[in-house]
């Protein structure tokens, strides 16, 4: 029986070049644990999209990851502007990213749909003016 492993990351909101560092670290941890490549890939993509969103839309935040025997649980919480219309935000191609973000390679409106696609459980808690929390789970088969 493996004890659960907990990882915590502060994601700075002012450093776009460092965005993704937390996801890279989780990826390396999962590799060391011998988790299957397809699970690692799903976790990496989902968490990376969430981490980028945190930086470009919400001024940073915190990420907690728990690795248990059966699943990987990710909680991404920010105190950004929140999402007014989740249904719209989930739509492929919908983005409020300004041109300067687009010129950095983001703002295709694919992030949230990607996160949903690559996770087994997905929920968003958000309140305008207060922030957004993503609760994600990927099962380890």
């Amino acid at each position: 029986m493996m004890d659960s492993i907990k990882l915590h990351y502060d994601v700075p909101g002012d450093d776009f070049t460092r965005a993704g560092a937390a996801s890279g670290d989780v990826k390396r941890n999962l590799k060391t644990l011998g988790i299957s490549p397809s699970v690692i890939r799903n976790v990496s993509i989902a968490m990376y999209e969430g981490e980028i969103n945190m930086v470009i839309h919400a001024g940073g935040g915190v990420i907690d990851v728990e690795i248990t025997e059966n699943e990987i649980i990710m909680t991404l919480a920010d105190k950004g502007p929140g999402i007014e219309n989740i249904e719209l935000a989930m739509r492929e191609g919908y983005s409020t990213a300004p041109d300067n973000i687009r010129s950095l390679g983001f703002g295709a409106g694919m992030g949230l749909p990607n996160i949903k696609k690559y996770t087994d459980e997905f929920s968003i808690d958000t309140k305008v003016g207060e922030g957004t929390t993503l609760n994600l789970k990927v099962y380890i088969q």
């Binding site: 776009f16 965005a19 993704g20 490549p37 890939r41 990496s44 990376y48 983001f106 694919m110 696609k117």
Partner: protein, 116 residues
């Protein structure tokens, strides 16, 4: 196809990880939007892009891409090269446009990285 074949077909410059030029690659994906790459790409694809910033390396890292080709004469900075070296990722630079680079690779047998 091996990465070294790509070097030849594109007349590309090898920027780092020369020791990995014998790596086999079968697929490629060209885009300047990173979420698109993450949405559609299969593993072991090569990425062609005209976007130059550290998130290109991170995106490739998340899906284990063995090689990034910067087109349109774009060049990575030292920090990006270091990141790629740490991750065993070959970086190539080509003067060709995205269209021409993709076309030449397709003509030589490389196929799309999207399930199609």
């Amino acid at each position: 196809m091996k990465i070294k074949d790509i070097v030849e077909i594109l007349g590309a410059e090898v920027i780092c990880c020369e020791d990995l030029l014998d790596t086999d690659v079968e697929r490629a994906f060209g885009s300047d939007m990173m979420s698109e790459v993450l949405a559609f790409v299969n593993e072991q694809s090569v990425l062609l892009t005209g976007l130059v910033n550290p998130q290109v390396i991170r995106t490739a890292e998340m899906i284990d891409m063995p090689c990034i080709i910067f087109v349109r004469g774009k060049r990575p900075d030292l920090k990006m090269i270091e990141m790629a070296e740490d991750r065993d990722m070959v970086i190539l630079c080509s003067e060709l446009s995205m269209f021409t680079a993709c076309g030449k690779l397709y003509a030589e047998g490389l196929r799309g990285g999207m399930s199609e």
